[in-house]
Each structure stands twice: as C-alpha cells, then as structure tokens.
Subunit: 168 residues, 2 copies
C-alpha cells in the first residue's frame, strides 16, 4: 500500500469512497444528500492537503485530508478527516493513514492535532485515536443526530505532536 | 438600541468593528492580516445570518452571526460569533446581542448553541456565557497562540436551547 497526494484525476475514485460514507450519515456531520461535486470540492478544498491510499494496482483504498483547524492564533493545531473504502475495511488502512497523517503533520510543524466531532458511537475510530495517543478533551451532549440511534454525544479529541510520535 | 439583520451597505461600518478585533488577534482565531474584503465575506458568509446592533442615530455598536455549527447530523446545533465596537465596550452590547442570538436560535429551532474556541484569557466573554447558562464542555490545551501571553487554552462552551431561555 502506498499513500500519496491526491490528484485531480482521482476524483471519480474518491467519490466511490466518500459517497457511501456521506450517504450513510453515521460517522461524519455532512449533509447526507450532498452532491458529488460539492463533496469533492469539500474534501479537496484549498485549505486542505488531501492524500489517498492505493494498492499495487492503483485502486484507492482510503483517503484523508489535513488542514489547519483554526486560522490566526489557532493555526498551529491541525485537523484531519479519514475515510476508508467500504470494500477495504478491517485491513488497517485507517491505521496506516493515521500514522502517515501524524508524521506529515509533525513534519509540517503543527504542534497538535484535533478532531472536532468524533461521533461517540464510532467505537472503532475512538479506539484507534486512543491507541495513537489522543485524549478526549471535550464531550458535546446530544450534538449528533445519529440516523439509527437518534441524539448521541460527539467527542473532541486532541493530542500534542511534540516529542516523538508513536510507531504502531 | 436596536438589533436588526445586516445589509450589504453596512459593510464599511462592519469593518470598523471587525478590523480592530481581527488586528488585535487576542480573542478570535482569525489571521491578523486578513484583508477587509475577506473578513466581510467571512462575517457575512452564505452559511450565516448576520445581525447588527445600532444606536438611535444608526451608528453600529456591535454585530453577531449565527450559523449551523456542523452539517448533516450536527445541523441542530448552532454557533455564533460576536464583536462589539471598540468605542462601545462596557455598555452591555454583548449581553443584548447574546440574548437576541439565544432567542433567535430558539425560534429557528436549534436545539443547542456551541462556541468552539473561547480563548481562556477572554474572561469577560467566559463570565457572560456562564451567566447565560453555558457550560465548559471541552478544554483545548495550548490551542491558541496569544499575542501577549503565548500559548493559552481555548474552551468549548455549550448550552441546550430546550425549555425556557434565561432573561437577563
């Protein structure tokens, strides 16, 4: 597996990853009926560095973006979003992308990484972030209307990027 | 004092409020060298409802915006930003705008209001939000580079909008 910057001609393959995640609406606070063009403009926005994970045949397995979480005095903290292709789950793609993103953010000089809105029912993601040294620094009560479970909490997770990064 | 929706021809007077706050860089995570056009496009963005507070002569005393804090399953929680004109501080303008925004958000059907990034040194703001029933639900360590104090925490503050609103 290789992780590389996304290119404009990745867009159809990116939509094959983003579309089902957005339509499911249970892990990201994005409108479930978001159009393809709007979703790609968001994921590939000028505020973001977007990467893709591909296998040896060039097929995309996952994607993530990295951006400053705030401007001005908050610009030293980054934010990322990650999606794995529905057919590639359970193979550690998310873990590889997480490791890549932490190393890339560290190289870029970011001093911390923050996730603003981790859905509390997304246990796989929470476990992964905890393994990578993230702490839950905030809990937003009933902040997410889950399509199956109704109102559930969202978590704010945070880790500093100073010192050495964990190797998993 | 009257609070009303902002109009396009408020832009010069709005910039007289926004400019000094942005240039000071100690209360908002916005780039301090942000251009006027960019700042106005942000404050009057299509995702926002923007209001102004004016005195009997029509001079602007303050401004706030209200928007959904997230899309999709997070769209029932709103977010606001408030700025008071440098010459109008200490006269309760912020308090009046806060009350207006809570009532307006309630009328719009939002179920909660969230502030994502309250600078921990902004004691006047924190005291005001606590008086209006907001709780600190998150603390982001060293997430803001304060121009005078260096790295300081930022707070996530939250309150539900169900039931009756406080009258102050």
């Amino acid at each position: 597996m290789q992780i590389r910057p996304a290119h404009a001609n990745d867009q159809p393959a990116l939509w094959a990853i983003l579309g089902p995640v957005i339509r499911a609406g249970d892990t990201y606070a994005l409108d479930r009926d978001m159009e393809q063009d709007e979703a790609l403009a968001y994921w590939l926005g000028p505020d973001k560095e977007t990467f893709v994970a591909q296998d040896d045949t060039g097929a995309l397995l996952g994607t993530y973006y990295l951006r400053p979480n705030q401007a001005g005095g908050g610009r030293h903290v980054c934010n990322c979003g990650y999606m794995t292709h529905a057919d590639a789950r359970g193979r550690g793609i998310g873990r590889q992308m997480a490791l890549h993103s932490l190393a890339h953010a560290h190289m870029r000089g970011y001093r911390a990484m923050q996730f603003n809105f981790v859905i509390s029912t997304n246990e796989n993601a929470i476990r992964l972030w905890q393994q990578f040294g993230f702490h839950t620094v905030g809990r937003l009560p009933d902040a997410f209307d889950h399509p199956l479970h109704g109102p559930v909490d969202a978590l704010v997770m945070y880790r500093a990027l100073n010192g050495t990064l964990p190797i998993h």
